[in-house]
Symmetry: C2
Subunit: 457 residues, 2 copies
């Protein structure tokens, strides 16, 4: 790992050349590098905390002057209980994951002595733009090395964490010297205002991964032709079908709204069948309101809730505007829309239509006791995650069992949904022959066998 003030072009060029070597290293060599980083960072704990303390001091002064928010200050602080330990454990966790490189996904005997194999390999060079969290450097370096990709790390903006960054990356850099992983394959770029330059290097950088605010993701998506893995929005919906169990609805929506309201997989819109506006919905509403959630209701749901809720709560109900159904609140607010039952359009079809029009194609859920309705919903909703009787908050790489999460993608190209290490790989086709040529097959010539071969475990 190098900490560099070189130009974006130089950085990307040296990273992409190192990527070629890194891509050919066996799993052991990549895992050994992670072990070396873990040992070195553990030994340098005090030095890192001292550097972080200096950053914190400077940042605290900026915060007093109102130049820095308290949340940035909190993010910056590495001395908080368990933070450094989590960072160190994270490196070992990534090391223990299954190797994503060299996995065979297709084997076909094209002809006798002519075997085709499709095998995963690293993508090449990643650009990761992240907000000022010092521990992220170790995490990204681990993911990149494990998956055999070079990575350019660029801090989103501030210089709040400069000393911490320098301390951590210097330790990683020294640790890599004793390993087979080329130093230049992980680079932390310190020169300022270089994000637009980096985003223009489409011939050297293969994938951009923004790890920061929605605004950052949106800016990047609109300013580069390099593929971007991520999502700008997470407008998730839950649809309460008329057969929904009230207790399940209460639990699931409570979790989806209040578990972590600022998360991209939190629910923002509730769609309700008219039939249960005065039965299931009041149970859900009372539970949400007791957790301080504001309810923005359409006329029908407001009427229904007003009829059923105690006055002390019903006076707090708000009116929804059309824009509320397009808003990712990221806060203790939820928009509620009633789906009128008509003989022509059943509620589930109205819900599908609403979600495919308004949602950000991230994660949407249905609550129902009717399996057929659930399967119809899961088939027709065009989102990365479509869930039945469970919380939208389940949309997460760790919860899905991927061991880690590189990000959640709302792209339809390449990785979609929570992305684990395999999202950092592509594949190539290896064809092993004995001198066969294309011209000898086809009309009047040899015939293709195209025999599917078993894939070794």
């Amino acid at each position: 790992m190098s900490l560099t003030a070189a130009s974006p072009f130089q950085v990307a060029q040296s990273a992409s050349i190192s990527a070629r070597t890194l891509a050919t290293l066996p799993a052991d060599a990549r895992n050994d590098a992670l072990s070396a980083i873990h040992v070195a960072l553990s030994a340098a704990k005090d030095k890192i905390l001292a550097a972080n303390a200096r950053d914190m001091e400077a940042a605290a002064r900026s915060a007093e002057n109102g130049e820095l928010s308290l949340s940035v200050l909190k993010r910056l602080d590495l001395s908080r209980k368990g933070k450094l330990e989590d960072m160190l454990k994270g490196i070992l966790d990534v090391r223990e994951l299954e190797d994503p490189v060299g996995r065979v996904s297709l084997r076909t005997r094209l002809d006798t002595g002519l075997d085709l194999e499709r095998v995963t390999c690293p993508i090449g060079t990643l650009l990761i733009i992240f907000e000022a969290r010092p521990e992220v450097i170790a995490n990204i370096a681990s993911l990149a090395i494990k998956s055999g990709n070079a990575a350019i790390l660029k801090d989103e903006g501030g210089k709040e964490s400069t000393e911490s960054f320098i301390a951590i990356s210097t330790v990683i850099s020294e640790a890599l010297e004793s390993t087979q992983v080329p130093n230049a394959s992980i680079q932390l770029l310190t020169s300022r205002s270089s994000i637009p330059d980096l985003l223009s290097l489409e011939n050297l950088i293969d994938l951009v991964i923004p790890r920061g605010s929605n605004e950052l993701v949106r800016y990047i998506k609109h300013n580069t032709r390099i593929p971007v893995l991520g999502h700008a929005d997470g407008l998730c919906s839950i649809y309460i079908h008329e057969t929904a169990d009230a207790e399940v609805a209460k639990r699931v929506i409570q979790d989806a709204k209040t578990g972590y309201p600022a998360a991209c997989n939190a629910v923002e819109t509730l769609l309700v069948d008219e039939a249960v506006v005065e039965t299931v919905l009041p149970v859900v509403a009372e539970s949400l309101m007791s957790s301080g959630v504001s309810l923005r209701c359409d006329a029908r749901s407001k009427d229904g809730l007003t009829a059923k809720l105690p006055k002390s709560l019903s006076v707090l109900l708000q009116d929804a505007a059309e824009n509320d159904y397009k808003t990712e609140f990221l806060d203790l607010i939820i928009a509620i829309k009633t789906l009128p039952a008509t003989p022509e359009i059943p509620g589930v079809e109205a819900a599908i239509e609403h979600i495919n029009t308004y949602s950000s194609h991230h994660t949407d859920a249905i609550l129902t006791r009717d399996r057929d309705v659930a399967e119809r919903f899961m088939k027709a909703v065009d989102s990365a995650g479509v869930f039945w009787n469970t919380s939208t908050r389940m949309s997460d790489g760790m919860r899905f069992g991927f061991g880690t999460e590189v990000g959640i993608s709302t792209n339809k190209i390449h990785a979609r949904g929570p992305v684990g290490l395999e999202g950092l790989t592509t594949y190539k086709y290896l064809l092993r022959g004995e001198g066969q040529v294309a011209g000898e097959y086809g009309e009047g010539g040899k015939k293709w066998k195209h025999e599917r071969l078993p894939i070794p475990e």
Copy 2:
């Protein structure tokens, strides 16, 4: 299918709405639509040929005036032996392919009664920009319907094939009326100069597939933020290792260069170990020259060939300039470069370095009798196809056994190499629960099972 002069925005909007319906149709409904198209086009043969004859008449006049090339004229002609029959057979071939939609690639039990499933689904709306070949409409419509995607078809430029286009798309449109496939899910856009407008509709169009010249692909890649499936260049190399069998080298290189020189998978550069410049290379060179191939040689290979070839051939050898190693000739020309053997850098490493620097990451091959050298080459060369002892021309969806080829991609994101129907799909995560919520797992709570479940055949 509709033939439309509506605005690009209207077209894309109606296509993307139809895509939602198309995406939920079962395989039978999609296959039935292909049968209906086949029947209708077969019945309308005479009408289509008459329309094509009118196009040909007009085009022949343009060709006489020098406004149109003879190759365009040839491409346009549907009356040529077998062309219409091939088009019709192609529809049935696509119908018979395995359904690419609804395939399960991952099943995990997150917890009792909480099962995750990753299942393939259509991407959504495709934009296919193609050159003036009337039969392509039927092929693209078949691929789109089979994979459950809506498609907007736009002719690259000329109006040479207008009458043929109208005839074919009118027949397809009428045929679709009797099927469950929405008419607007396949649209042929006739309004002119609308390509830049279409390329700006990144919120409605999910993937662009250019089927035309390298210039067209390059133009599109530089003028849209929609992902593009394809390749602008096919600069393929073959490396003759010092242990290569002369007979295999002759056969393979002959096929790779002369089988179809204008193809993207034809070989353009020959890399040769110095040790075999006077043994294997002359055998290859003589065979190529007898087929009219021009050899552009570096000094060492020219000397070697001059020493071994008959004078009548050696006088025809040309000198290679640096630029020849960067050129996709698409013609009966090949550039030859000798790799000097040094104790530090074996030939295979020099070949890998050359290819990773110069090639277009499409397809590259090694000819050798040494398995270790071949495996090293296949590991380190960063191309979509890396072949051993076989021709670069093997890089093809039909030859790979995919049944069809949507294109060949040199992207590292999404599909890479020859792309079959599965390249027109993405996936979504379905999670079926019983009211579980995220907040009940983790520290002090329930534990994840993360049990891999078998995937049904």
